[in-house]
């Protein structure tokens, strides 16, 4: 009896495996789109409503959809830690599953992606890394967005809105990316409201909603009437709404979180970038060795539509600066006097910070209340 059952089961398994063997090859040949298999590794969770990983996910999916890449051609791995070598196995498993394009979306993946990209066995696989500095001339490029430009615009919105002249900034971790955002935001505030100051509080975590919320609440209790953030959750936005102060979001349009207290958000817009990359790959024109750092002009970052809560004249001012960003006649850290917290002049009327200086920025501009450890 048992033997019979086992026999039947073996037969079923065999039959199924024959079928699955058949289905593999009927794509035909020559179609570059259907040959594409994209593996994406996220640090966060893409089912969360807002955040960095979610924005990448949305961008990749939208780009894939408009190019006719099927969902089954995209393999995704979420919540992959970038602290240690274990992420390497995740990348290798994607390659083993047939991926020929690998996208890593967190800074810490860089060294491990670099190892893999330089491995001769993987020379035909395209590696794309977000927010890192590694690249090579064979199959590896990196990319990121000049989010500080969007931050500057949201700073204008905050500076015109604040009445207490105190703006709270819930910030994650003291690395150049975050500091750059704080500085640009503060310069934006100062450009329209020289009396206002930006109070920075570190949470020392990227995503712990309870800590983010209580940090925002402390800032509000100290008199801040506009709250913005560099965090992966929207807890600070919720705190702002609960305490009836204004909120400026980040990563995604956080109007959904702060609702009637929303001003605007500094947002990613990665669809255009990914669509261009995928198109280049399909056409065989993709270039390795590129360090792409696109800003407002390129459409990688943007400011979300302003809400009705903004102060009068905000839209006009934002549009004016936006136009200057687009035609290249203005940039945040260029060609006007910028001092650091101690009063040292860092930028003058005819100098600007280079990309290297921006990428290693570890000082606050005048007007920021807070310290970097």
């Amino acid at each position: 009896m048992y033997k019979k059952m086992i026999l039947v089961m073996v037969a079923i398994v065999m039959a199924l495996s024959v079928f699955s063997g058949c289905t593999g090859d009927n794509d035909g040949d020559g179609d570059a789109v259907s040959k594409l298999k994209i593996g994406v590794v996220y640090i966060g969770n893409i089912s969360e409503p807002v955040g960095f990983s979610t924005e990448h996910y949305k961008g990749i999916m939208a780009a894939a959809k408009s190019l006719g890449i099927k969902e089954s051609q995209i393999l995704q791995r979420e919540e992959v830690s970038d602290n240690d070598e274990s992420c390497k196995e995740v990348f290798e498993s994607l390659i083993a599953n047939g991926c020929n394009v690998i996208i890593g979306t967190s800074y810490g993946y860089g060294t491990y992606m670099n190892d893999l990209a330089n491995d001769p066995a993987y020379k035909d696989i395209i590696f794309m890394h977000c927010s890192g500095e590694y690249k090579n001339d064979v199959n590896f490029s990196n990319f990121f967005g000049r989010m500080y430009q969007a931050r500057y615009l949201t700073g204008i919105v905050a500076g015109l809105k604040t009445e207490t002249n105190k703006i709270g900034y819930v910030a994650a971790v003291g690395i150049p990316e975050v500091i750059r955002g704080i500085n640009a935001f503060t310069l934006g505030v100062k450009s329209v409201n020289p009396d206002a100051e930006v109070i920075v509080r570190w949470t020392n975590t990227w995503g712990n909603p309870s800590i983010e919320k209580s940090t925002a609440e402390t800032l509000i209790s100290e008199g801040c009437d506009v709250i913005t953030q560099h965090q992966d959750t929207d807890a600070a936005q919720i705190a702002a709404r609960e305490n009836k102060v204004w909120a400026i979001g980040y990563h995604s349009d956080m109007a959904v979180s702060s609702k009637e207290y929303n001003l605007t958000s500094a947002i990613w817009n990665l669809e255009a970038y990914y669509e261009q990359q995928f198109t280049d790959i399909i056409n065989g024109e993709w270039k390795p060795g590129v360090a792409y750092w696109g800003g407002i002009k390129e459409g990688v970052v943007d400011i979300a539509p302003l809400s009705d809560n903004v102060a009068e004249g905000t839209q006009a001012k934002v549009d004016e600066v936006l136009a200057k960003f687009k035609d290249g006649s203005f940039d945040v850290f260029a060609n006007y006097e910028i001092k650091d917290q101690d009063g040292n002049v860092k930028v003058t009327a005819d100098t600007k910070l280079t990309d290297e200086e921006l990428l290693s920025m570890m000082w606050f501009v005048e007007g920021v209340v807070g310290t970097i450890d």
Binding site: W202, T215, E217, S257
Partner: protein, 312 residues
């Protein structure tokens, strides 16, 4: 005025920890070390969230959260009391299980990827109803009467838990089960039943803690909602010396020290030291409490050891 605001923030941060400690005390008083507090909080957070979105009813939300938390505890109780598996391992598994269940089900809540799930405003408004006149008293108003009803409910529940454990007959029996189950068994106490019931009550407290974090405090679904509060509760049980009333100070102290860390970031003291503060204070107090050895301040003697009648 600003101090009143700080107290307000600190209390709201502390309440889930307080409920978690009380849940853990119920477990340990029954002789079970339960490291699954975090997992049960996650389960409660999910159940509360789901019910709030589906029914818009605060009472249903609280009941569902307690029941789902208790359900997690029931699994743990079955494993440790009936099957006599190792309590540490079963508790750790419960943490991983609870977190996994909450994330899995929570992500299906949203329907599609990247869609946000929020507590309906109707529920938030009902929950955040405040005592009308008292809350406007200057200074004291916000610090004493400015909270949502669930905070007062939680404190009442914790006080009831104290009286139940220390002042009632069943509480005495419960403590006997935790100290010496064999003696309790000989005295005619149904050891398994006591363990099951109180582990589940503990789970209900944890579920309520999770619902507080998810439904009342954060109001957006996130995968990292609890973020270690359950583990802090496990540690603070010792600080509270298995007494729910002391848990009130314990959790408040934790809330206040973590706010101090936020407030004094601009000072010359290293922020890392400040961030250690809540944990440092916990450790120091643990040391002090363990130096003063008092019989009634100790962990229940049979904690961590499964009772097996045939081994007497």
């Amino acid at each position: 005025m600003i101090i009143a605001s700080y107290i307000y923030i600190a209390v709201r941060v502390s309440i889930p920890v307080l409920l978690g400690i009380t849940g853990a005390i119920f477990n340990e008083k029954a002789g079970n070390t339960n490291l699954g507090i975090e997992g049960m909080m996650y389960m409660g957070a999910f159940a509360g969230f789901y019910t709030a979105v589906a029914t818009n009813s605060v009472i249903m939300t609280l009941i569902a959260a307690c029941l789902f938390g208790a359900f997690g505890a029931l699994i743990y109780a079955f494993a440790t009391v009936s099957l006599r598996t190792n309590q540490v391992v079963a508790g750790l598994s419960l943490t991983i299980f609870g977190q996994g269940v909450a994330r899995f089900l929570g992500n299906t809540l949203s329907g599609g990827k990247g869609e946000s799930v929020r507590i309906p405003d109707a529920v938030t408004q009902k929950v955040s109803w405040k005592i009308p006149v008292l809350k406007d008293i200057p200074f004291l108003g916000r610090a004493l009467f400015g909270y949502d009803m669930i905070i007062y409910l939680s404190i009442v529940l914790v006080v009831i838990a104290y009286f139940y454990i220390n002042k009632t007959r069943t509480g005495l029996n419960l403590r006997a089960v935790g100290e010496n189950p064999a003696a309790a068994d000989a005295a005619g106490i149904n050891v398994s039943l006591y363990k099951y019931v109180h582990i589940c009550i503990g789970g209900a407290f944890c579920g309520l803690a999770g619902a507080y974090i998810g439904v009342v405090y954060l109001t957006t679904w996130g995968n990292n909602m609890i973020a270690g509060k359950g583990w802090i509760a496990v540690a603070l049980v010792i600080f509270a010396s298995w007494n729910p009333l002391k848990a009130i100070y314990g959790s408040l102290l934790f809330g206040i020290t973590s706010l101090i860390a936020l407030r004094f970031q601009d000072s010359p003291i290293s922020p890392y030291l400040l961030e250690m503060l809540p944990y440092l204070v916990t450790v120091i107090i643990l040391v002090i409490t363990s130096v003063k050895i008092k019989k009634e301040n100790q962990q229940p003697a049979s904690c961590g050891v499964n009772y097996f009648r045939e081994e007497r």
